[in-house]
Amino acid sequence: MTTGRLFGPPELSLRWIAVWQRNLLVWKKLALASVLGNIADPLLYMVALGYGIGAFVPEVGGMKYIAFIGTGMVCQSAMFTSSFEAMYSAFSRMHVQRTWEAIINAPLSLDDVMLAEWIWTASKAVVSTTAILAVIVALGFGHSWLALWIVPLGFAVGLTFGAFGLVMNALAPSYDFFTYFFTLVLTPMLLLSGVFFPVDQMPAALQGVAAFLPLKHAIDVARPLVAGVVPGSIALHVGVLLAYAFAAYYVALVLTRRRLLK
């Protein structure tokens, strides 16, 4: 393919919606199992650590520990759900089932497919975000309309990590490749972004690293929202998330074009 087309901006059309709907239809068939799969892990952490550690540490940063970790888990689940969808599930559709190939023989472009998959990863992040938020509310926290802003925040986290996942997807020779991303990127992200303990308790160097982590910025927005407070520096936090999202998406798009349109 020509350089112009390889590096060109996304070729946009509304046809991506049909691909998003296709994914929704598949998801509907297994929705219950899928939602349980997405939220079981974060819920277990939240309840076990929330009550277990919460017995020793009643409050962190003015929040009950279970609400503190619960908010972290909301963001964590958005991260893992979208990453997983963009890697394993998208890879199945792209490489194993060749579903994308079938779609781009119709009047859709690869750019349409990529946009649909990207929005889809964020949509799934919204589902798990909402499910965990509902549990937090049921446990008696986040009783403020502000907490509802967590849902669009989950979408933004989904866009960021969905785009990261799509970069990995474009490079992956097989499913095994995704393990690198989990162990080298997502696990450190989880431990350094303030999911389990406040970032300001870490050494200064690690705090410096954390400042660049998108998950940390998501949590900085989510915690005040659950506490019923308008978060500070919203523009910065959301700006960092979306900057990562759009930059990674562009990289994913170019890499996927290079992989499939040759």
Binding site: M1, L25, N105
Partner: protein, 330 residues
């Protein structure tokens, strides 16, 4: 007044008929490929390929593995950009208007890519949505397509439970979901058993009777000979011949073939065959004797007890082998 500036005398109107026919013929071209070139790195896999397919034709691209068939199809669909030449599909320039062109084209890919997450009928319905076919049209079209594909009553079956032949037929039905003007098939029967291949051929012939236009790639001679109204033999990215199957056979090879095989075949070919046949080729333990008049060969073979032979009319495979050689392609 200068006579040369006078109005020309009235004369009979120019005959319009041939021009109108030219215009109609031009409009009748469903796919026009001219001077197509494609490089992969320094390797030129398509080297100035050109052909035209008219409405109602079945045009076959015939060539060994790696001849550039699939690359040509991918260029026609606008999935990859050619490095030279021009393509016009259903009247639209490709790749510029590839999306609009694909709206009116159906594709059967080389490797099955039915959606395993959906049932038989869902596969057609979901695919129809990619073309914006409305629900009412889909509801009317899907049962007819399933009937056509011999999959009536299997609407709710999962894709994983279908046989290879059923999957291919469903893929063919899927390619028809937008009622395309042009159907593009990339090796439609590769990997199928003979019964399944015949079912696909019957389906394709039915579509041709209905006036559909078909472009197919194949490396099966019988497939090309049965289906194609015209075919192009391509090798190393260039076209080496293009005509109707019959005309190619008549033009390229002698009408009769005697295949001589058995332990003594090579020896016999050297001693007698080469002198009696118009042309003789040896592949492995078989000698292919080509001739306009087979009688001298048959008479000689009757005297040679150590060899066995098969006498048959020349076919497309003989043309293909003559044009592309006998060496193995991987």
């Amino acid at each position: 007044m200068n006579p040369s500036l006078r109005d020309p005398p009235p004369r009979a109107p120019r005959p319009e008929a041939p021009r109108a026919a030219d215009v109609a013929a031009a409009r009748d071209v469903v796919l026009r490929v001219a001077g197509l070139r494609k490089f992969y790195g320094a390797d030129e896999v398509v080297r100035g390929l050109g052909f035209e397919i008219r409405r109602g034709e079945c045009f076959a691209l015939l060539g060994p593995n790696g001849a550039g068939k699939t690359t040509t199809l991918r260029c026609c669909l606008g999935l990859i950009d050619p490095d030279g030449g021009s393509i016009e599909m259903v009247g639209l320039p490709v790749p510029e208007s590839a999306r609009a062109a694909r709206l009116r084209v159906g594709v059967v890919p080389q490797v099955d890519n039915l959606d395993p997450d959906f049932t038989v009928a869902e596969n057609l319905r979901i695919y129809g949505r990619y073309f914006d076919v409305d629900r009412a049209t889909l509801a009317a079209r899907i049962p007819r397509l399933l009937e056509f594909a011999g999959l009536g009553g299997k609407e709710r079956m999962g894709i994983r439970t279908l046989s290879g032949g059923m999957k291919r037929r469903l893929t063919l039905a899927r390619a028809l979901i937008n009622d395309p003007e042009l159907l593009i098939l990339d090796e439609p029967t590769t990997g199928l058993d003979p019964q399944a291949r015949h079912l696909i051929w019957d389906g394709l012939r039915q579509l041709l009777t209905q006036g559909k236009t078909i472009l197919l790639t194949t490396h099966f001679m019988d497939e090309a000979e049965r289906l194609a109204t015209r075919l192009a033999v391509i090798d190393h990215g260039t076209m080496i011949a293009c005509d109707t199957p019959r005309a190619l056979i008549d033009a390229e090879v002698e009408p009769e073939v005697i295949e001589v095989f058995g332990d003594d075949a090579r020896a016999w070919a050297g001693a007698q065959g080469r002198a009696l046949a118009a042309r003789l080729e040896i592949a492995g333990e078989t000698a292919f004797c080509y001739a306009a008049d087979p009688q001298p060969l048959l008479a000689a073979l009757a005297q040679a007890p150590g060899v066995r032979y098969l006498h048959r009319p020349a076919n497309l495979e003989d043309v293909f082998i003559k044009l592309t050689g006998r060496e193995l392609r991987d």
